[in-house]
Symmetry: C2
Subunit: 336 residues, 2 copies
């Protein structure tokens, strides 16, 4: 079972009145550890060691982020409550050089359990409205430590993209009696944008993908959160996560950077029957040697311009999904 360590931190939240959205301020982060070359704070350093993990070894470890983006709720000038802090780091393995795509299936299976455990535990806190689980992989998406790890933010609000999905799916449920995600799945799981299937799990390029190689991975069964997945589904999910990340590495020919985001039901005490657990993957590459950089249209208007057709990228990814695994993908040749 994972070990959880706690640290104190005090970021601040402010409401942007123009878009009615929360913005987080974490000024200590501007000087945070940046790609250290000699010492990895996520490697086990032994019981006398000085890394974040003073252990001889571990399977998966969870601890609270030293440079958190979210902390005790200070919006209302309320007293600081360390117990409500929730910015956690999930270290996938003690082995520094691996990536999620290279882990054994039983380790990824354990990771699914860790996520389910953290979703339940953090989500049970009264002040936590949304448990946001994600992974940033690669310098291209701002990673400051290469050791394989993900993050969990326990948010005191439902973030904008989750909110938008819940609204759209809620309307769809009212009008059609079915969750929007279930409807999309039935279209996509076997259509021209399907990329891989693993028993109870299906992955596809969504028809209105924002990122050139965006992939969504769903449990076929309607489950609102990762905590609801059954034993067999957790194994399928572990294999599907290895399938998607390995597919990217084989397609690009290098260890592919990505953002992996879990969308699921808020934990604010309301019922969210229109939520449907899924993973969204956004690799920043638009070609092997070019990144999709966000600019004026995406950043100033909120509209994405995608230079690739989802049907074309899905066809490429299907081919990579079916290809034999490579041993040691080389590093990404571009940082821009």
């Amino acid at each position: 079972m994972p070990i959880v360590m706690r640290r104190l931190a005090m970021p601040e939240l402010r409401l942007d009145p123009l878009r009615n959205e929360w913005v987080a301020y974490a000024t200590e982060r501007n000087d945070r550890t940046f790609l250290p070359t000699e010492f990895c704070p996520l490697c086990p350093s032994g019981t006398d060691g000085h890394s974040e993990v003073p252990l001889d070894t571990f399977e998966i470890v969870v601890f609270e982020n030293r440079f958190p983006a979210f902390g005790p709720d200070r919006r209302g000038g309320r007293p600081v409550r360390p117990a409500s802090t929730g910015c956690e780091v999930v270290v996938y393995t003690p082995e520094h050089e691996l990536t999620l795509a290279q882990l054994p299936a039983d380790r990824v299976r354990l990771l699914v359990d860790v996520w389910a455990d953290r979703y339940r535990e953090l989500g049970s806190r009264a002040e936590v409205a949304y448990v946001y689980i994600f992974e940033n992989k690669g310098e291209e998406v701002g990673v400051t430590l290469h050791h394989p790890h993900g993050q969990i933010y326990a948010l005191p609000f439902v973030p904008p993209f989750a909110q938008a999905e819940l609204e759209a799916s809620g309307l769809h449920l009212e009008e059609h009696g079915q969750c929007l995600h279930c409807s999309e799945l039935s279209l996509e799981a076997s259509g021209p944008r399907a990329v891989l299937a693993e028993g109870s799990m299906a992955a596809f390029v969504p028809r209105a993908a924002r990122w050139p190689y965006e992939v969504h991975l769903y449990p076929r069964r309607h489950v609102v959160s990762i905590a609801e997945l059954e034993e067999a589904e957790r194994w399928d999910l572990a294999r599907a996560l290895l399938g998607v990340t390995g597919m990217y590495d084989r397609h690009f020919g290098f260890s592919t950077p990505y953002v992996m985001a879990l969308h699921q039901a808020p934990t604010d005490g309301q019922a969210w029957p229109q939520a449907h657990l899924h993973f969204e993957f956004y690799p920043p590459h638009r070609r092997e040697d070019r990144l999709k950089l966000l600019a004026g249209v995406e950043l100033g208007a909120g509209t994405f311009v995608n230079d690739t057709r989802p049907e074309d990228t899905a066809a490429q990814l299907r081919k990579a999904a079916a290809a034999p695994a490579e041993r040691a993908p080389r590093k990404s040749p571009v940082t821009q």
Copy 2:
């Protein structure tokens, strides 16, 4: 007066059902001209020349983008109508090496007129719901041509961020009888986050800034679009645009990359009394030697984490705004 040339193009729009947002597909763009080193397609090439501007010289020129992101409305399977295409490039000067910050005031004054003209002309088309004017400056925000220029997208929908602002400001107008932007201006124009003023124009770091050095520039008078600005306001705006862009260059000590986005009233035929013209600037740097890279929280949840306090960055920018102009800012030292 600007010269307008037209080209045919056929991008595609798809609705993302999950967030109920349009995504644009422009597959020809993936092979678009990328930082050519010997030939600049935006320099005047003479009347026999092969650049996009076959002229001996010009003041400001506007032409239709060869690699547009938006084109004839194909959402409903309607016939292609080239007349509705509206992705324009605005070249600020024939001088390749300049930036907006280095233009003479009367050229920027002419640019304001060009924007007002394009807003009116493109906005008068029945199929154009929003005229989105912006500039991407620097390789850090994906610029593929260094010649000083901006862009105008004539969109068949109101984009998400404009929509969110209109909703928030509409509610505020109902509740308080005043546009939200006017309320914010009265707080910010002389407060701890003010950075510069130029007669009828005021610039500040918004209190819930997403980007470390984000600045918003407003006309103090409630005008819904750039077309409503009067003569004296247009001169003030020209000087304020030089003020903000020059301030960035002096603060960072190099020609600072940024996204500049104009937010104003939609042109869909409805009345938008809650709209208030303003410019938003997002430089990607969080320090002289580090970029703010968007990652899992921004891209997967829609929530920004800012490593700086708006009051601190405003104080730094005020100092730079008051400093004497530098001659030749050096190039940005980082691309990551």
